[in-house]
Symmetry: D2
Subunit: 154 residues, 4 copies
């Protein structure tokens, strides 16, 4: 079970990523769920996100953006979950250093759909660096893309 500090931290981070990141607002990116078990990020298709007007598919840059956001949030949740005696200050400090070192995106299928959902899991957990795998699916369960990212968490 999550401690009060863990819960409060993740809620605060979800709020920031949901409402206070200008580029997330521009895209309409939504943090649907964020707890110690992981994150669910969605984006609703809209004309401005299209990369190919003939095929009406999501721009690959939007796919990369969702996967990167999912990876960062997944890595941070893993760090928060790794100890139950974090102080609020320590976690706020860690959040400031959170950043992507590198990311690979594998584009599997054209980004067709109405709602795209990104999820992820930690494959290497560390006190300084974590590696995550991410996935993007549309509302019909079609798998659009995979991501693999290495994140600084401390």
């Amino acid at each position: 079970m999550a401690t009060a500090i863990q819960t409060a931290t993740l809620q605060r981070v979800a709020q920031i990523f949901d409402a206070q990141v200008p580029f997330h607002n521009l895209l309409g990116l939504d943090i649907k769920r964020y707890d110690l078990d992981g994150v669910e990020v969605t984006i609703r298709m809209k004309p401005e996100l299209i990369g190919n007007i003939h095929q009406q598919i999501l721009h690959g840059g939007v796919t990369a953006t969702i996967l990167d956001v999912v990876g960062g949030l997944t890595a941070f949740a893993g760090l928060v979950a790794s100890r139950d005696d974090w102080s609020l200050e320590a976690l706020q400090q860690r959040l400031k250093t959170l950043g992507t070192i590198d990311m690979r995106v594998d584009y599997l299928r054209p980004g067709r759909g109405d709602v795209f959902t990104g999820t992820g899991s930690v494959i290497r957990a560390g006190n300084r660096v974590s590696v995550c795998r991410m996935e993007l699916h549309n509302e019909q369960g079609t798998h659009i893309a995979f991501g693999t990212g290495t994140y600084m968490v401390g």
Copy 2:
């Protein structure tokens, strides 16, 4: 020297990527130069592209987007340059199959600056698949990110 068909094709592609891709318009992405030698893509910083309000830096998803666009255009220019007897129809057909298979982004420094410029080069040229390396710099020459992408070109 470029043939008339090569020149016309690249100009047409530059126009499409510059003005007819909705997501490029949303971001304000500009194709500054596009010829057989390569491409120069720029983006001007604006509040909506920010990923971290405290640090006022470009969102990593914008960085990934520019690098991916640069990679695709670089791969396609390499294909166009590989023969001087292309027909307009053959190149239009190839353009339809142009797509990213995978891409790695290495984030080197925070995306601070006013104007960001992406450039690239082909490291493996093929009739079906090409691999490119891409770079993103700000207006002061600070190197923000590297990209490596594998593109379907036929």
Copy 3:
């Protein structure tokens, strides 16, 4: 069910990879299983494969080698499985073009163990290019590494 040509082709490829690739012999790489459903490649720890004498762990280059071999065989099995009317000649031709375009390796844990097993699956199947994900585990089920590779198959 596999056709006779599919079965014969995969058996022949397994024999070649098992016994006729000098570097596989040097490492002691074994093709344990190879059919339309996938491949299982093993390697037994021996002193020559060690990368760190103090920790007695597998060299990262051995890990990369197994993952790459698994990825290539997985991609080829996927191609063979994609049609049931292949001719033997067509498949032999395809085998000649089989090659790695790019690969990412994620090192998750030190390579400790006696027998290491690599497995994989196709995440993007194509007539020219396939993308695979690969895994390496030791005999206790410890997950040592992940791989993601893009392969030319035609």
Copy 4:
């Protein structure tokens, strides 16, 4: 100019990598040069390193091995160069934590040749994590492969 401790450390590391890593001995891997400016690692073609007997080319796993070794040594040299007041003990401690987090290999051309040389440079220097780019050429200057790797250095 390198301090005595920097010089002694790199010489010691070069000796270890050259002579005391069993897998490097198996392959015949040579550390030709190792100083604050970088590293040069070579390997001489021999029958056991062949991956394709018809084409007589280097196995892709050998290529990955050289690139990974070059990347690790390059990352460590960058760390050593980052301060001129390192103690011998501090550097020995850092060497113990040196390890590959992830690596991408781009195979550009078949590995034909007699002597293969790997070189690299740091693209992101950090106190905990460094990212390097690596290259492999044959004795005629033919570019065989690129690598990009993320290394733990502390």
